[in-house]
Amino acid sequence: MLSRIAESLFWIGRYVERADNTARLLDVHLNVLLEDPWVDEPSANASLLTVMNCKYEMPVSRRDVLATLALDRNQSSSIAWTLGAARENARRAREVISTEVWESLNTTRNQLPRWASAARPHEYFVWVRERAAVVWGLHSATTSRDDAWHFMELGRSLERADMIARLLMTRHLEGTTGPNWTTLLRSCSAHEAYLRTVRSLVTEERAAEFLLIDKLFPRSIAYSLQKAEDTLGLIEGASRSRALSDRARLALGRARTNLEYRDVRDVLAELPAQMRDVQSACATASDLIRDRYFLPASTVLWSQEAL
């Protein structure tokens, strides 16, 4: 597979997953603002934007948050921009992805202007999640399990681990008590799965464990990291130069085992720091993957005079 195409596929995976998770995260946040009577809204908003690494000016209103993270097509942090970027990447890799996936991404982008105002944000978030599900469903139903599949899945699982880590960081927003664990489970579509697995009411430790290290639930951090590691192994296959890809797997594996083999109470005690470690592991892996697969081995510079 061409390096350029592989990079596009990787980023389609990341962007679509990011749009999905940003929608979930914002939905939780708006919910918290409504339900917490003692909320200090500007500082809660500001701290959410910090979690998402966005710049802001105090005071941050609800409208600012929605513009920055959901609607403004000119800000690279917003869902609207992300979906547009996914579609542009799909256009570049048009001959590799299936027609169905292309059309679903293209239609999504074409329908974005309908949601330009923030009148009913919840409906917008539901729509975003549905569109992401359509893309993944078609992708899964129409793509051969070759490198085209692997690179998209790789981007997707890295992004998911990263975004779930950010979502858990919102437990410690300033100015509010943050979302309770039931809300967090719900926003990850994990509430029913949790109840069936744990068979008890939601307690902090069990819920945190479920979202951090459950081995079977596809939205736990450890599951996503494991998936990314496995996918890297499949991409590498039998080829020889594996140093860089092994370093990527190393970073991911270390982050995963750190969560798995640590007492969940210790993790909860320093949750923001732990979640930041997960994010930096994902960023490191992403850089290593870029160096290994997407950049040319050596850049040939051409100058006419040299002849």
Binding site: L2, S3, R4, R91, R94, E95, I235, S239, P296
Partner: protein, 529 residues
């Protein structure tokens, strides 16, 4: 249905030019009878709503072109253009003959130049052609083919005679619209489509792929073919990706390619992979910064060297532009007789060569009634239509010609034929041309049945290029049914194995009885309340 009722055809006035659907007395020409009847049964609103549906499917599929930075659906008109089987029997061999002539001419020009030595074409004409590349002289194509794909632009004059307007043998574009127009239209008019026996166009990609494979360097068994695109911002990007996708080959940009020791490779996630055939959609000038423009970032350095070594095939070949120069065009009928020993099947449009003194003098007097074109133009750029141009602008054109007579030709105004087209005011005649596409695989020239019909959407407009606000029509070549009838499958090839049984159902076998019992239970429960 009575004649007095209002149909989309009410008020349709065939133009003074050749109208392909209707003669001047208003009776429908035979190939169009079925299309006429189908549209006659619709209401005007129905026709408009179908046209809207067409545009929205194109938007969803991304069949768009960039217009001032905005993506617009490629305009496809709802009324198909129909070409009768008897007409196609002239066009198809005519186009093939034309391509063979062009091919022979190119081989000659980049070889021993017999046509010059025999006094047929002046040497200075070739030497001064902007697209005659000395760099291409020594590159012998593996199976002798230089024009793998060509688009020969045809027009129909006021007497209904098909004429060649232009040859395109560099990187002719538009075939993707033929393929996607067909897909959209066959969904829109399924009944009419099947009943009329329209010849299919879908095999184009397979034909192209096999022609490219045949042109691979000699020692390659299973060639790696790529399509080279300038990139996603090119206006024809949709076409490049569609061709790559339907041929099942990689779509590469210049930066994906690198050359080492006269071999071409593409950069993949598994390292370098050798490339054997490049179907390039990048202009000659940009192909190789070593041989041509040093500032080009669209090609790959060393491509021409690799081609000269015979390690890679570039399709279409470099330097083909010398053959579709509009001055060479005027020599084409003579060249057909010279190389093939045949009379040309499709005539040219009469053309004055402005570098000849007598012709120039005659044209200068009649500039206001002629069409003047630059010899190397494409896309309708620089064309001046005399009757529609102010005296002031004509004076400018005159000065331009006198400065560079080699750069211009003049032609009489050809009243292009018209076809009914849906406009804001309903159906009206609009001028069209036709670009059939031909593929040369070295053994045979195959002409895609139909081709791209471009239509000028403004009333009276004669320039049909999409960059000048033109649209397109699906072109239906009749006569497919007869072929199908000839190849009825023999009885022994019928399917004899029936399916294994009814489609399995996953319902639990006891569900049905349980269901009944549960319902009874509820009824009893309800009764006891």
């Amino acid at each position: 249905m009575t004649a007095s009722q209002h149909t989309p055809w009410t008020g349709y006035q065939p133009s003074q030019a050749w109208d392909e659907a209707m003669d001047l007395h208003g009776s429908v020409r035979e190939p169009y009878s079925r299309v006429y009847a189908e549209i006659d049964r619709m209401s005007g609103d129905d026709l408009f709503s179908r046209a809207e549906a067409l545009a929205s499917t194109y938007l969803a599929q991304g069949v768009t072109f960039d217009h001032a930075g905005e993506e617009r659906p490629f305009p496809l008109d709802i009324v198909p253009r129909v070409v009768g089987a008897d007409e196609w029997d002239i066009i198809s061999p005519g186009v093939a003959q034309r391509v063979k002539t062009l091919e022979a001419f190119l081989t000659d020009v980049y070889g021993s130049q017999h046509c010059v030595n025999d006094g047929l074409v002046p040497r200075r004409l070739i030497a001064t052609s902007q697209y005659f590349y000395r760099a291409a002289a020594g590159i012998d194509p593996a199976n002798g083919v230089r024009i793998h794909v060509s688009g020969i632009d045809l027009v129909r004059d006021q007497h209904g005679i098909w004429r060649v307007l232009e040859d395109n043998v560099r990187v002719p574009s538009g075939v993707s619209y033929v393929l996607s127009n067909r897909r959209a239209m066959s969904q829109m008019f399924p009944d009419m489509f099947g009943a009329m026996g329209v010849r299919p166009v879908l095999e184009y990609s397979q034909r192209l792929r096999s022609a490219l494979a045949k042109s691979a360097p000699e020692d390659v068994d299973d060639p790696t073919i790529v399509v080279l695109t300038p990139g996603v911002f090119n206006s024809a990007y949709y076409e490049h990706s569609l061709l790559a996708r339907t041929m099942g080959v990689e779509l590469v940009e210049g930066r994906d390619l690198e050359t080492h020791n006269g071999r071409v490779y593409m950069r993949t996630t598994a390292g370098r992979q050798r490339v054997d055939v490049i179907y390039r959609r990048v202009d000659d000038d940009f192909l190789d910064p070593v041989a041509f423009r040093p500032d080009s970032a669209l090609g790959a350095p060393g491509l021409i060297h690799a081609a000269r070594q015979g390690n890679v095939t570039i399709a279409n070949a470099v330097g083909n532009g010398v053959a579709d120069d509009k001055l060479i065009y005027t020599y084409m009928p003579d060249l057909t007789r010279y190389y093939l020993g045949e009379e040309p099947i499709l005539p040219n449009v009469d053309t004055w060569r402005l570098e000849e003194k007598e012709a120039r003098e005659e044209v200068m007097d009649r500039l206001d009634e002629l069409v003047v074109k630059p010899v190397d133009g494409a896309g309708g750029k620089g064309v001046t239509i005399g009757p529609k141009t102010s005296a002031e602008e004509l004076a400018k054109v005159r000065a331009q010609i006198l400065r560079d007579p080699r750069g211009w030709i003049a032609q009489p105004v050809v009243q292009l034929s018209t076809v009914p087209t849906l406009t804001e005011d309903g159906l009206e005649p609009r001028h069209v041309d036709l670009r059939p596409f031909a593929i040369n695989d070295g053994d045979d020239v195959w002409v895609l049945p139909g081709g791209l019909t471009r239509v000028a959407l403004a009333r009276g407009q004669l320039i049909v290029n999409s960059s000048q606000g033109g649209g397109s029509k699906d072109t239906w070549v009749l006569g497919g049914v007869r072929q199908r009838g000839a190849s009825t499958p023999p009885p022994e090839s019928r399917i004899e194995l029936a399916g294994l049984g009814a489609v399995p159902q996953g319902a639990h076998p006891d569900d049905a009885t349980h269901d009944q019992q549960q319902q009874q239970q509820q009824q009893q429960g309800g009764g006891s309340c």
